[in-house]
């Protein structure tokens, strides 16, 4: 079985720059994405801490806030102008520059060729371009924090006319940079996605039939389709917003025949597929980790696949659920409500199939498994709170309250981010050839799990009490004052939550050098990537492996050597060679 894993020979010694900076190797590009997006995750977290300080202790000088310039805070007390920037950029960074690149940039890049048995992406150079454009976009977005008047002040959703009119928002350069950055990022995503799609369709190793693909790859494939179709719409919208700012066009200017709701339609037509871009890969990787941790085949593989496809499709016809209160035609609202509620069904299938996978398993609680199980537990909370908002009459009350904020964080942190903590630990050995520390991994997991819930669960209560989003100082309203203790409590838990993330940061960084050397297949998994040494060599396989079975053959009766796993690339006497492999191997 190691014969498949002969180290690649036909790559000439490359300079450091070609090898690690301007690399076209999908694994290096994935790692580049990993470091950059973790950095942005940190930035987003730091912004969140300032948000929490202001909400927990309004009107009190923030520790260390003294260093902020007068435009942001006066002797440490945050200004409202700065607060809305914090919120907007927190959302922007987390969605566009942390979670999206972490899931798609890192794992689509790293996993698709490895799990499908390809030497690399279909278009390695386009792939490199995709990273560097994303990097550029990140820099532009970061810069917008430091231009005069600071960053955008209209939320990550940039509702117009506020976003389109500097005289209303008080921002010019921040807004322009936001638009430019998003257009560049969109380009990056399209380049990346068309790469992933082509690779999945055209570069599967012999025997890797559609229904032998790991669910992670299925999810990343559907995600790429969403990305390639959704981001251009956002680009178009951002360009029009930019022109409204700079060329004086009137797309979103009601006084001149433009429409305010047009932006919302365009944004959310992108926006909802986007949120599924932020969850589907997590779901896919969680499926892999749960099957591995349960030592059992995934429960109902086919329906898992169809559920992913169904979610991907439904994601296109529900965007109006963000606009129930916007004055949108109420009949339209009704239809959007129904389509939105229907998404609960495929999600239910996935949830219960994950449970079915664990049922009667032989559960190994390594760090990836812990995080994967937490994903299921937390995503369900977020998903169920989504049902409240999907019901239009209820949304009439909870729209734009902290109930939404709670939802956001249960699906995005409890969902995507937990999945990522698992995934990072799970594939770390293939990336760096070392293991992350399991002990500290578990400590980080448990502390995160606790403080995360302490931070975000009470937000449901804030929402039920009518606490609006994006407000700088809740104590302005009488009916919110009784909630201030709760706000304080949330803030303190949030600080703790941030603090324990540093454990992860330390574990991640130190393991690069100190981590114990990783064996070839540390988790005893079935994927093709584990047929390679850790870290996987450039070019992956000398000759692409042949695939004989599905990816989840755990505890199969009659597995040789008393193992409880049976890799996809392992040929048993009973296996027949797939057609593609029989044809004379050319080149390669």
């Amino acid at each position: 079985m190691t014969s498949v894993a002969a180290v690649h020979t036909h790559d000439a010694p490359m300079s450091f720059w070609r090898k690690y900076v301007f690399s076209t190797d999908h694994k290096i590009i994935g790692i580049q994405f990993l470091f950059v997006s973790l950095f942005f995750l940190l930035v987003g977290g730091l912004l969140a801490m300032q948000i929490r300080w202001q909400l927990g202790f309004p009107g009190q000088p923030m520790p260390g806030g003294g260093i902020l310039p007068e435009t942001m805070a006066s002797e440490g007390i945050l200004l409202p102008e700065y607060y809305v920037q914090l919120v907007s950029m927190h959302g922007t960074f987390m969605v566009f520059f942390a979670i999206m690149p972490l899931l798609v940039g890192v794992y689509a890049n790293f996993l698709i060729p490895l799990k499908l048995g390809a030497h690399d992406m279909a278009f390695p150079r386009i792939n490199m371009a995709s990273f560097w454009t994303a990097f550029l976009a990140g820099l532009i977005m970061l810069a917008s924090l430091f231009v005069p008047e600071g960053a955008i002040r209209s939320g990550w959703t940039n509702y117009v006319p506020l976003a389109a009119r500097p005289d209303y928002s008080g921002v010019t350069w921040g807004q322009i940079l936001w638009c430019i950055s998003i257009v560049v990022l969109g380009l990056s995503s399209v380049l990346g996605s068309l790469n992933y799609i082509t690779t999945v369709i055209n570069h599967r190793a012999p025997g890797m039939t559609w229904f032998r693909m790991p669910l992670s790859v299925w999810a990343l494939f559907i995600t790429a389709i969403l990305g390639v179709l959704a981001l251009p719409v956002l680009q178009g919208a951002a360009i029009m917003l930019l022109f409204d700012q700079t060329l004086g066009t009137h797309f979103f200017d009601p006084l001149e025949g433009g429409q305010a709701l047009l932006w919302q339609h365009l944004f959310w037509f992108f926006g909802h597929p986007e949120v599924y871009i932020l969850i589907l890969p997590a779901m896919g990787m969680v499926s892999d980790m749960i099957a591995n941790g349960s030592r059992k085949p995934i429960f109902g593989y086919h329906s898992m696949v169809f559920a992913i496809i169904a979610i991907g499709f439904l994601g296109w016809i529900v965007w109006g659920h963000h606009m129930f209160m916007s004055g949108m035609n109420p009949t339209l609202g009704s239809s959007f409500m129904i389509s939105t509620l229907v998404i609960a069904v495929p999600s239910a299938i996935k949830t219960f199939n994950w449970m079915g996978t664990m049922w009667r398993g032989n559960l190994r609680f390594h760090v990836p498994m812990l995080n994967a199980v937490a994903f299921v537990a937390m995503f369900v909370i977020g998903g169920l709170s989504g049902v409240f908002m999907a019901a239009t009459p209820v949304d009439m009350f909870i729209h734009d309250t902290y109930f939404i904020v709670a939802h956001i964080h249960y699906v995005l942190f409890g969902g995507s981010l937990f999945a990522l903590f698992g995934a990072i630990t799970f594939w770390y050995p293939k990336m760096f050839g070392r293991m992350m520390n399991q002990r500290w991994g578990k400590i980080h997991f448990w502390l995160t799990f606790v403080f995360y819930n302490l931070t975000f669960f009470p937000m449901h209560n804030l929402g039920m009490a009518g606490h609006m989003r994006r407000i700088y100082d809740p104590t302005q309203y009488e009916f919110l004052r009784p909630l201030q203790p709760l706000n304080e409590f949330i803030s303190i838990s949030a600080f703790a939550l941030f603090a324990v993330q540093l454990i992860f940061a330390a574990n991640f960084l130190l393991s690069l050098w100190k981590g114990e050397k990783a064996p070839q297949n540390p988790w005893e998994d079935n994927g093709l990537e584990w047929s390679l040494p850790s870290p996987a060599p450039h070019g992956n396989w000398e000759r692409v492996p042949t695939v004989y079975r599905g990816p989840y053959e755990f505890s199969a009766p009659g597995t040789p050597g008393g193992r409880d796993y049976l890799p996809q690339y392992e040929r048993l006497p009973t296996d027949r060679e797939p057609a593609a492999a029989l044809a004379p191997a050319l080149g390669d």
Partner: protein, 227 residues
């Protein structure tokens, strides 16, 4: 983009050995996926135009009132011609005729370049008359005309008319320009004999892009100039 391990036998076939996929080689599939995403990009722009124009009851400028239709009709014809020359180039190299490939690619480049040239000229004229991305410029020729005949010139909707017109046609023109640039690259590669009956992927792929841009223009011409 050349293939990472472009050592498979017939580059005009799906990569090999691999499971059968879309049944076409990757560059072509990649281009089709890109075109799909470009459809969505133009959906945002053209959709905006449709939404803004047809959800207002205010009169819109009548066709031909502001825009120079005969000139654009000719431009449309030109773009169609360049599409034909493109497909001719494709047919030529598919039959292994490198000389005709060069000729037709050159024709296509000329066609595309002229199209852009004419569009720039049209822009200059329009702005000169006072048609700008934010409506009819104060005190310009158009502004006075519109004031005289508000219905014919859609005075109240001039703002979004300008916005949508310049954005849509502008980004189409941008696409054409990119096409011309890539095409020039293809041309030089063709001069160096870079394409053969065995491998003319570059020609076919750029062709797909080119025809798509033509297709978009066909739609734009109708809904922007004629309706």
């Amino acid at each position: 983009m050349t293939h990472a391990h472009a050592s498979t036998a017939d580059l005009m076939r799906p990569p090999f050995p691999a499971e059968p996929g879309a049944g076409v080689y990757s560059n072509k599939l990649g281009m089709w996926v890109f075109l799909a995403s470009d459809v969505m990009f133009f959906t945002a722009l053209i959709g905006t135009y449709i939404i803004l124009r047809f959800s207002t009851d205010l009169p819109w400028a009548q066709p031909g009132a502001v825009l120079n239709v005969p000139l654009t009709a000719f431009n449309t014809f030109l773009l169609i011609c360049s599409s034909v020359s493109m497909v001719k180039a494709y047919a030529a190299i598919a039959d292994g005729d490198r000389e005709r490939l060069k000729f037709w690619v050159l024709m296509t480049i000329l066609g595309g370049a002229t199209f852009v040239g004419i569009q720039v000229y049209e822009y200059v004229k329009l702005v000169g008359h006072g048609f700008t991305p934010n409506g009819y410029r104060e005190g310009s020729e158009l502004a006075t005309l519109a004031a005289a005949e508000p219905l014919k010139y859609g005075l109240q909707t001039a703002g979004i008319y300008g916005s949508t017109f310049f954005t849509m046609t502008g980004f189409h023109g941008f696409h054409v320009t990119c096409g011309v640039v890539c095409m020039t690259w293809v041309y030089f590669k063709a001069l160096r004999g870079g394409y053969s009956q065995q491998d003319y992927r570059g020609v076919e792929v750029i062709g797909l892009y080119w025809h798509f841009v033509d297709l978009v223009w066909i739609i734009l011409f109708t809904i922007v100039y004629l309706i």
